[in-house]
């Protein structure tokens, strides 16, 4: 990755972090719409499908403008449903763009995630084209502009035997077949969107497609209210022998029209091609250096076939295969083409036999021991196990009695590291993570909490004093919140008295078998 791209990502990440902090303060991390941008776009798609079905009942290809005017004239239903359809389609574009920016600046678009990125670009394109057909359906002056300009651009491509631009010159009436084809496209493209969406999330385990109910219904309620209070009106009907003069422009879908009209079609296409090339190059521009972010590896010597890494991997990169080393059962196998090197498997493996090179549980324990020897935290001190993507890394330097041990992702943190620190006698351990919906590796925070509090493998052992442990959500820009939490936690830890360190203890590496194993599934 070049220095310029990295710098651009840093700037974008800093801006996004500030927006996240503001949205967290307003809505709380659970309902922060910026964290749910992808799911919000899917929510918009559902609203568009429902409202679109209603509009379809009244739309007539033989009299497009009059039928839309008729819908708009339905004071109690059609007017606000049409407006909701339009506003939510705009929100969908906003949500998709936020989602794309988030993935790009957080470096989540390269390697195995390239498929999601590229299919996401196709999804955005499909949304825009679908919007184009939707606006043409109305056949007002904006539709006239879109049709004429679209035809002008497409006539440059050797696709049609006759220039389609002649359809819109006003020489003869536009046939109903045109509006039928347009309507067909407006319905068929969303079906295609579903297919592309399936590809988009195909490499994710436990796909999260819908936003939280409160956020979804809040969004629907807010835009319904806007549709009732400020409904969309009707622009003048298209007149092909008149130049469109004043009209209402949808900036989200049609901002390109006034820009493109004054340019030669070849130049307009050049801009489109350049923009598309840039978008498609993001996975290549933001890729990690060859030396970094290597895929996880299962050490078959340690693997007991417990399947926990297989269940926990957020990207379905691990499969269980029959052992070929003379032992019975299965062994984990990582598919490097799917592994994003998040390291969550490292936190899932009790025997510490899996993880990216240098970040397995064993490596983490070595690092923690070196840290204890180097930092020598006192029994009153707090050790922050800080997710590199969260606020922690920048906090501790100026806080006395606080030491930071960075981890690549809280979900990759092996609970044995927490056990080691607490049993070694530090005053308390804070795991500072991103809010769950902001986890760059999707499920890291969820699995961490399950391992610490709900005995998910590799669980934090009962012998560890949980009063000396705190998990704190602090997004990248929420340093003040983290400091306040640290102060509160330190006061609680002090009230417990000085921590008593143990010597010569061993952290357990046993792994319980899952309730239903792959072997049983295969057998049945």
């Amino acid at each position: 990755m070049s220095v310029a791209v990295r710098r651009l990502q840093d700037v974008g990440r800093a801006g996004l972090a500030r927006c996240d902090r503001a949205a967290n303060a307003l809505y709380g991390w659970r309902y922060n719409p910026l964290y749910h941008s992808g799911a919000l776009a899917v929510g918009c798609f559902i609203v568009l499908s429902v409202t679109g079905l209603y509009l379809l009942l009244f739309y007539r290809i033989g009299s497009p403008y009059e039928s839309v005017a008729g819908i708009t004239g339905q004071t109690w239903t059609g007017r606000w449903i049409r407006s909701l359809h339009r506003y939510v389609s705009d929100l969908a574009i906003v949500a998709v763009l936020i989602h794309a920016v988030r993935m790009a600046v957080q470096n989540r678009a390269w390697g195995p995630r390239s498929l999601a990125w590229i299919s996401g670009i196709v999804l955005l394109g499909a949304f825009l084209v679908c919007g184009w057909t939707g606006y043409v359906m109305v056949w007002d002056v904006q539709a006239q502009l879109l049709a004429a300009e679209g035809a002008r651009l497409f006539d440059l491509l050797p696709l049609f035997s006759e220039p389609i631009g002649r359809t819109f010159v006003g020489e003869r009436a536009i046939p109903s077949a045109f509006f039928f084809l347009n309507l067909f496209a407006h319905i068929a493209i969303p079906v295609g969107i579903l297919l592309i969406l399936w590809i988009h999330v195909s490499r994710l385990a436990r796909t999260y497609l819908m936003p939280p109910k409160r956020l979804f219904w809040g969004m629907v309620a807010a835009f319904t209210a806007a549709s009732v209070v400020w409904p969309v009106g009707m622009d003048p009907e298209a007149e092909l022998l008149r130049l469109p003069e004043a009209y209402s422009l949808d900036v989200f879908y049609n901002a390109w029209v006034p820009l493109s009209r004054d340019l030669p079609p070849a130049l307009s296409w050049s801009f489109v091609a350049a923009l598309l090339a840039l978008a498609l190059a993001v996975p290549w521009l933001t890729r990690a250096p060859a030396s970094g972010a290597t895929a996880s590896y299962v050490n078959p010597r340690f693997c007991t076939g417990c399947e926990q890494c297989y269940h926990d991997c957020p990207y379905e990169a691990i499969s269980m295969v029959r052992r070929d080393d003379g032992r019975d059962g299965f062994v984990g196998l990582v598919d490097p083409a799917k592994c994003v090197s998040c390291g969550i498997c490292a936190g899932s493996c009790a025997p510490m036999g899996v993880g990216p090179p240098g970040r397995t549980g064993r490596d983490q324990l070595v690092g923690a021991r070196e840290f204890l020897a180097r930092a020598t935290p006192s029994p009153d001190d707090i050790v922050v196990l800080g997710c590199e993507n969260a606020a922690a890394g920048r906090v501790a330097e100026d806080m006395p009695g606080v030491h930071v041990l960075p981890v690549s992702c809280a979900g990759s943190l092996h609970t044995s590291v927490i056990e080691l620190l607490i049993r070694a006698g530090v005053g308390g351990v804070v795991v500072a993570t991103c809010p769950p919906r902001d986890c760059w590796n999707r499920e890291g925070v969820s699995w961490l909490e399950e391992r610490v509090y709900n005995e998910r493998e590799a669980e934090l052992k009962d012998r560890v004093d949980r009063r000396r442990l705190r998990i704190v959500y602090a997004a990248q820009a929420e340093r003040d919140q983290l400091r306040a939490e640290l102060d509160r936690f330190r006061a609680q830890v002090r009230a417990l008295g000085r921590a008593l360190g143990e010597r010569g203890f061993d952290v357990g590496t046993a792994c319980d078998p899952p309730p239903v194993s792959v072997a049983e599934e295969v057998g049945s």
């Binding site: 010159v169 092909l240 003069e245 004043a246």
Partner: protein, 187 residues
């Protein structure tokens, strides 16, 4: 959630929703709204030009047996010179060629000539450019149209061919409905 935070989040949500609704219907006025257009749009089969030559025995031998024809012909459509003069000033001069990669398809004319609103003397010329030696076919090789055109701001004067493809006309009518010309006629 505190009351203040609830109020703040509601207010911010309202602003965002209204901003999206507002940008969804941004009032827009085209800069060239004071202009008018003379639009030329027609399709013409054009004059077919066929060039034939006899293949030499060597060329014939080089071909597979089933493809040996003594004479091969390539067809194309003659190019036409298009001119538009407004008030005696040439605003458009171009050569229109047949469509298709081999230029053997009909000619499609689609041009917009911007003019100021008001009355103008408009003269359109469309004339076949025949290579030497090509015999003119039994069809018109030259088209012309000239008239005084009164155009309001934003109005388009559409010049087209009649249905028989023999003369240029100005299409007039109340362009409405779904963009068609109810009651449209030719003048």
């Amino acid at each position: 959630m505190s009351v203040a935070r609830r109020l703040a989040s509601t207010a911010v949500s309202a602003v965002v929703v209204l901003a999206i609704a507002g940008l969804s219907r941004l009032p827009w006025t085209d800069a060239d709204r004071d202009g008018a257009l003379v639009r030329l749009s027609w399709r013409l089969a054009g004059v077919a030009i066929e060039e034939c030559r006899t293949l030499s025995p060597e060329e014939l031998d080089a071909l597979p047996a089933h493809m040996r024809r003594p004479e091969v012909c390539t067809g194309s459509t003659a190019a036409y010179a298009l001119t538009v003069d407004v008030d005696g000033r040439r605003l458009l001069g171009d050569t229109v060629r047949g469509a298709g990669a081999r230029r053997d398809r009909p000619l499609y004319v689609l041009y917009d000539v911007p003019v100021a609103p008001g009355a103008h003397d408009v003269r359109v010329g469309f004339e076949a450019i025949l290579p030497p030696g090509v015999e003119p076919e039994d069809r018109p090789l030259s088209f012309g149209w000239a008239d005084r055109v009164e155009l309001e701001s934003g109005q388009i004067a559409l010049i087209t061919l009649d249905d028989a493809g023999t003369r240029l006309l100005r299409a007039v009518g109340a362009a409405g409905g779904q963009g068609g010309l109810p009651g449209a006629g030719l003048r």
